[in-house]
């Protein structure tokens, strides 16, 4: 389909791959079901109140970001740690290179972090001869396969155990192993060595707690705890929007995050990391750094409405429920953040002109907004971005055809006489085109543009021989065919709804 290729070429491989379709649909479906159970009235009666609370807390934190970031910094320093402010990925890379040089270390262990994916940290470190090793199982598999995460929470969601077996066999030069538990054992064995070897552990951050200077990490494998405590240096890389005001706010967020993401009341591990090892403590790093990354976030902040995209706590619930994500998968999205949240983050970070198709690639079903634990109005943001994109195109004089089309349409729809005339003409042209009012194909001169797109997938209804307004006129000329069975004031009719 030419029309589609012009918009987004890579959608096809995903849509045309039944195995992949089944893998995505099943994996996301499982997460949807699990979430549903843990946020149900019986399990979490105050779920809706928690969402409102989480939204209010995030809104407050983002509205007062300068204050809370400085408070966070003071408290990190009071705990003996350091805060490094970075404008972009390059500054993060330079900082880490400096640390590695100082420590004369080559291996870095990493726990799962979307923020470091955002700045392609691994690739940049590798360019400088370092060896960053992903320790989350899914991320480790992807690192071996040289792929980017398919999903915010479940990075290797699209891979079957057979594909993992292929990757392990090829990259690790080991005997083929298809049993997931055994594959885990293999990865674990290799990663243990890396944990011992590494001097630097890099993590992301789920929350930065301003009033205590703590970095909070949630995970299920224990690799994040190990990455942040075994090496001598721990560096947490976090977007500036991750700050929350108080430790007590975690009571709200942690209840929502595990449930929304994986359907767990709480993840297996929740780590509160506040500063380096203190005297008398038996574990923890010698040095503790928090890298606060901007990378476009302050630009997003300028829009007081749409910056609510920064409230995101990266649970992935909107991806799992999204009928678009579930069909096209994570790799068709242009940036690391996929799904509905990706569709509203990407244009705000990368510019409206870069992927103008993205906010349009939604049926606006609204399921994402319904499941968002921090109540980001994703569907409304998509509409706002569409308007921004079209306004920008109009200002630049690009893509004039659709604009002209809608201008003509608006004239037609605001002029009843014109509308009636067009409607009559339309019915006349198409009166014999279909079978029983539906067409599975049309003559070539009509099979173009949107009609062609429609007909490529399904049959098209043709204009009725007589429109409603014509039928209504006919009806008014006839005596009423039916007697009212009930009077309007008969409200005692047992309304049981």
């Amino acid at each position: 389909m030419k029309e589609i290729t012009a918009i987004q070429p890579q959608l096809h491989p995903a849509l045309d791959n039944p195995k992949l379709q089944l893998a995505i649909y099943t994996a996301t479906g499982r997460l949807v079901d699990k979430r549903k159970g843990t946020v149900a009235e019986e399990s979490l009666p105050d779920y809706q109140e928690l969402r409102s609370q989480a939204n209010a807390l995030k809104r407050h934190a983002i509205d007062h970001l300068d204050y809370y970031l400085e408070l966070f910094q003071r408290n990190v320093e009071a705990n003996g740690g350091k805060v490094i402010w970075c404008r972009d990925g390059k500054e993060v890379v330079d900082f880490l290179l400096g640390l590695a040089k100082q420590r004369k270390s080559k291996v870095l262990v990493k726990s799962k972090s979307m923020t470091t994916e955002e700045i392609h940290l691994n690739e940049h470190l590798e360019e400088h001869g370092l060896e960053p090793v992903e320790t989350d199982l899914g991320e480790y598999i992807l690192q071996l396969a040289h792929e980017k995460p398919y999903h915010i929470v479940a990075p290797a969601l699209h891979m079957t155990r057979y594909e993992v077996a292929d990757i392990f066999e090829e990259k690790l030069k080991i005997e083929r192993e298809e049993v997931p538990e055994k594959q885990t054992q293999i990865a674990r064995g290799i990663l243990r060595e890396k944990f011992l070897e590494a001097d630097i552990g890099v993590s992301g951050a789920n929350f930065l707690v301003a009033d205590s200077g703590a970095v909070v990490l949630v995970e299920n494998e224990g690799n994040a705890r190990l990455s942040t405590t075994a090496p001598k240096v721990h560096v947490a890389v976090a977007g500036i929007e991750k700050v929350i005001p108080r430790a007590q706010d975690l009571a709200t967020f942690l209840k929502l995050l595990g449930r929304s993401g994986t359907g767990q009341p709480l993840t297996v591990y929740t780590s509160f990391l506040a500063g380096p090892r203190r005297e008398g403590e038996i574990d923890g790093p010698e040095e503790f750094y928090v890298v606060l990354l901007d990378n476009g976030r302050t630009k997003v902040l300028r829009d007081a409405d749409k910056r609510q995209a920064l409230f995101c706590i990266r649970c992935g619930a909107c991806l799992n429920i999204c009928p678009v994500y579930r069909r096209i998968g994570g790799h068709n999205y242009p940036w690391v953040y996929s799904g509905p949240i990706g569709a509203i983050l990407t244009p705000q970070f990368e510019g409206l002109d870069k992927n103008p198709w993205l906010p349009h690639a939604s049926s606006l079903c609204g399921a994402c907004g319904e499941v968002c634990p921090v109540k980001i109005e994703i569907p409304r943001m998509l509409l706002e971005l569409r308007a921004d994109i079209e306004a920008e195109k109009a200002a630049k004089g690009e893509d004039k055809l659709e604009k002209l089309g809608f201008q003509a349409w608006a004239r037609l729809m605001s002029n009843p006489m014109l509308y009636r005339a067009a409607s009559a003409a339309g019915s006349w042209v198409l009166q014999d085109a279909g079978d029983g009012g539906w067409a599975s194909q049309l003559p070539f001169f009509l099979n173009a543009g949107p009609t062609k797109g429609w007909l490529s997938q399904r049959d098209l209804p043709l204009p009725a021989p007589k429109s409603f307004r014509q039928l209504w006129k006919d009806r008014l000329r006839q005596p009423p065919s039916s007697v009212p069975v009930r009077q309007q004031d008969a409200t005692d009719e047992g309304h049981s709804a």
């Binding site: 349009h360 809608f406 729809m413 009609t451 429609w454 014509q470």
Partner: protein, 243 residues
């Protein structure tokens, strides 16, 4: 004097599915309402609004506001168009206080058909009969913007001879999405086929919805996939069989 109800049949119903409009009028008339159809009505403006063309959407929405300015009740056979008028008009005119005033004045008088039956007419049994097994498709905007979930089901359960069965993906989008259906045709088609398979599994002889746009998508896909199941608007079912 019976209460006068103005019907907005939506552009889609007017052009493609006029029987749905007639069925809605019939049901309302049977309940004793006097129905008026304002000849000048066209569209609510949603296609332009959803595509990002706000100026054009405003032009059409202004026309809608003008046509229905003095109506007591405006009843629509569509959750999506109802949501456009009662939710999105206020976004569309957020910088235009005069228009916004008109929007807010009209909002409480705009009613989606099934909700009007249950909450204004206060009936759940309109005396209809329809033989056979039927499944209900939740249209996204009705479900998520208007919170309409049980109402249509309540009405269907009261229909004589009708057996209501749930499909496993009742709340999942059919993939229509306005211009999305043509701009991302293959994606939209894939979504429709999931819906069709789900309908097939119920063994129902008809799929019912309160939005003709979803029905157009579903029926178009069912025909293409060779599934002989009727796609009916709720109004058509409720207009059936009564005397």
């Amino acid at each position: 004097m019976s209460t006068r109800v103005s019907i907005f049949v939506t552009c889609l119903v007017d052009q493609l599915f006029p029987k749905t409009g007639l069925a809605m009028a019939t049901v309302l008339e049977r309940l004793g309402y006097s129905i008026e159809f304002r000849e000048d009505q066209t569209c609510c403006g949603q296609p332009a609004f959803n595509s990002g063309f706000r100026d054009e959407a405003r032009t059409v929405a202004r026309h809608f506001l003008k046509v229905f300015a003095d109506a007591d009740y405006v009843v629509l056979p569509s959750g999506s168009c109802t949501a456009m008028c009662s939710h999105h008009f206020s976004e569309l005119f957020r910088d235009d206080p005069a228009a916004l005033y008109q929007v807010h004045a009209l909002e409480p008088r705009i009613w989606e058909f099934s909700r009007f039956l249950l909450e204004v007419a206060k009936v759940d049994d309109v005396g209809a009969s329809f033989p056979g097994r039927v499944t209900y498709h939740d249209s996204c905007h009705a479900l998520r913007e208007l919170s309409i979930k049980q109402g249509p089901r309540t009405l269907l359960r009261k229909v004589r001879g009708l057996e209501l069965v749930e499909m496993d993906t009742a709340e999942e989008c059919c993939g229509f999405g306005g211009t999305f259906s043509a701009k991302f045709a293959e994606l939209s088609g894939a979504m429709a086929r999931t819906k069709v398979e789900s309908i097939r599994r119920t063994g129902a002889s008809a799929v019912v919805s309160i939005d003709s746009s979803c029905l157009m998508q579903i029926q178009g896909a069912m025909r293409r996939e060779g599934l002989k199941v009727q796609a009916l608007h709720l109004a058509e079912v409720l207009a059936g069989g009564a005397q």
